[in-house]
Amino acid sequence: MDIFGIPIQALLGQLMLGIVNGSFYAVLSLGLAIIFGVLKIVNFAHGAFFMLGAFTAFLLAQYMGLDYWVTLLVAPLLVAAFGMVFEFLFLRRLYGLDPIYGLLLTFSLVLVLEGGFRVAFGSSGQPFATPEQLRGTINLGFMILPLYRGFVIASALLVCLATWFVIERTSLGASLRAATERSELTQAFGINVPRLITLTYGVGVGLAAFAGVLAAPIFHVNPSMGSSLVIIIFAVVVIGGLGSIMGAIVTGLGLGVVEGFTRVFYSEFSSTIVFLVMVLVLLLRPAGLFGREEG
């Protein structure tokens, strides 16, 4: 059976790949949405933290001989710690100022990190082996799916849902949301808001690094691996509705699929389609698909 001259099997295959890519978008845009929601900072360094996650995993594996599964846990924690130090030392000073300052600071961090890694490791990247247990493929009938990609979907969804659950359904999440909306009042209840903010930034950054470790065996570890993604991630967050947690997850997955289909029908357009969707959404629903109109 064909749809527009493309066999349905090929379309199903692309749907699957779209979900894989969408999983990355979801984890990354989730982190970005959380950071924006709480800190009101446009974290331009998100792609750089993604790259940093992949490189940290690479270095841990290369020089300390750590197992992939250990790096999947340790690398995001290390990068999150780095992010929290960055927030504590620099970012903190910019709260309440024009958002452009936060944007400039995080963008400069991108330049420093990418430049540094390029000098140290070159631009063509480092090989990163797929973990032993996840090599090989499974035949889904309509396509051959590498096991590792299946693992990416599962773990990304799990992490997204867990994050959503913590924010929306636990008391920690409730304090966080309270701090977002009425920070002084929350502090009056004895909650340490600055610490909560640092922690939030750490979680957002950790999510980016986690996506980076997941991506390392697929995309090859190189200094610019984040910069090509970050623009799309911004679009995802804007389409989903700035600061909306569920919006980021659903839109991330959805846009991955849309992009995948575009590759089949008109490949040259695949890097543009996300932005076309963004334009349409902003015209029709300026607050994004899941965002609430302020006012």
Binding site: A10, G13, L17, S124, P127, S228, L229
Partner: protein, 409 residues
């Protein structure tokens, strides 16, 4: 008439009186602003940094030092700049260098889009440009110029090398994964032509943007095409990601990837485990003979890496340019251009190399195969020579060139 006579006498007597001083004054007079300036315009921060970048600048510096740092007592200066893989940035930098900074020759020129743009500026301002790191054969066809030299390789030589060998080996249905700009499209066209001429068939192509990370959907399209050979018409990080994706999706063993422009550095990046068995056409390999090893060792000591063909080409072409300047006794672009096309190139990079009127440097190309991890005996021992393609076969026959400088065009 008397005026003419007196001029003759004057010239003769002054020549006789101060022959030595006069000629040495001539020597530096032949050089614009008393310096020979070479600009290395390359990708210092983007996707092609590893292929040329800082190491390309170092290769040119080495050539200048080996030449003695001066021509006819005139010092040689090396500048470098980043084109950021943008044709407009490259062209405006070139214009600035030629017009304001007295640059006589621009070398390297990675990225075909940039190379074509800079070649146009060089032609307009009548200054030299030598292209080592990019492949578009437009440079020696519609956009040829007496001041532009295409030195190391081009899309035609890649097609003749890798493309032809694979077709001869029985791989006659092709699908292309092509990077969507001048370089990729030019390479796809060249290889398609070779495939069709040999009776093969091109069943399709997918075009992707420069610097694509995710090739899975293209891998799937390649798989669905049923083609025996997946021609990868991209290079650097794009080619690496494409090869990885093809390996991951199990495209082999029924289908084989063919990297049409694989650099030595790409193999370092891929690792022998993934890269083994790939064929590549390269004009230079560090471990080919004693001469290449000698150069590469010196290069390694300065840069911490082995040179690839573009680095070697940057060195060799700078040497050739300087020799031509010396022979012409001036840095005047037209005179140097004539000398460059007249002198033969014999060094570790090329033997009996020569530059055709359309700017194509003709020299042997080599088809290599990547060794398996077991076959690799020492550091950087990556390639095995499969065939030598004589320069005359490797490059586009002159009668096919559409260059306006050739008779009949």
């Amino acid at each position: 008439m008397p005026a003419k006579h007196s001029f003759k006498t004057l010239a003769l007597s002054s020549a006789l009186l101060g022959l030595g001083g006069f000629t040495s004054a001539m020597a530096s007079e032949g050089y614009s602003d008393g310096v020979v300036r070479i600009g290395v315009l390359t990708d210092m921060s983007g996707i092609y940094t590893d292929l040329s970048g800082e190491a390309a600048v170092e290769a040119v510096r080495m050539a200048v030092e080996d030449f003695g740092g001066e021509v006819d007592g005139v010092p040689i200066e090396v500048l470098h700049g980043d084109h950021r893989n943008r044709a407009d940035t490259g062209a405006s930098r070139a214009r600035e260098w030629y017009n304001n900074d007295g640059v006589d020759m621009i070398n390297d020129l990675s990225n075909s889009g940039v190379a074509l743009a800079v070649a146009a500026v060089a032609d307009e301002l009548q200054r030299h440009a030598i292209v080592n790191s990019s492949s578009n054969i437009g440079l020696t066809n519609d956009y040829c110029s007496p001041f532009v030299t295409h030195y190391t390789y081009d899309a035609y030589s890649l097609a003749q090398g890798t493309g032809q060998s694979i077709v001869e080996d029985g791989g006659d249905t092709w699908f292309f994964l092509t990077v969507d700009f001048a370089f990729g499209i030019g390479l796809e066209e060249q290889v398609s032509q070779v495939v069709r001429n040999a009776g093969g068939q091109v069943v399709g192509a997918a075009r992707h943007p420069l610097d694509t990370t995710d090739f899975s959907s293209y891998a799937l399209q390649a798989q669905a095409s049923g083609a025996e050979i997946i021609g990868i018409a991209s290079t650097g990080a794009d080619a690496i990601n494409a090869i990885n994706a093809l390996a991951e999706f199990g495209v082999t063993p029924d289908q084989r990837p063919a990297a049409l422009l694989l650099w030595y550095d790409d193999i370092v990046s891929l690792g022998l485990e993934t890269a083994q068995g790939l064929m590549l056409t390269n004009a230079f390999y560090w471990d080919a003979n004693d001469q290449t090893r000698e150069f590469s060792q010196r290069f390694y000591e300065r840069t911490g890496r082995m040179p690839n063909m573009a680095h070697a080409g940057n060195y060799s072409s700078t040497m050739h340019y300087l020799r031509a300047v010396e022979a012409a006794g001036t840095d005047d672009a037209t005179a140097v251009s004539e000398k460059m096309r007249e002198l033969e190139i014999n060094d570790f990079f090329a033997s009996g190399g020569y530059i055709r009127p359309n700017g194509r440097m003709v020299h042997d190309q080599y088809l290599w195969e990547v060794k398996s991890p077991e076959e690799s005996e020492y550091d950087y021992d990556f390639l095995r020579l499969l065939a030598t393609i004589p320069g005359e076969d490797a490059f586009q026959p002159l009668e096919e060139s559409t260059c306006h400088l050739l008779n009949g065009n």
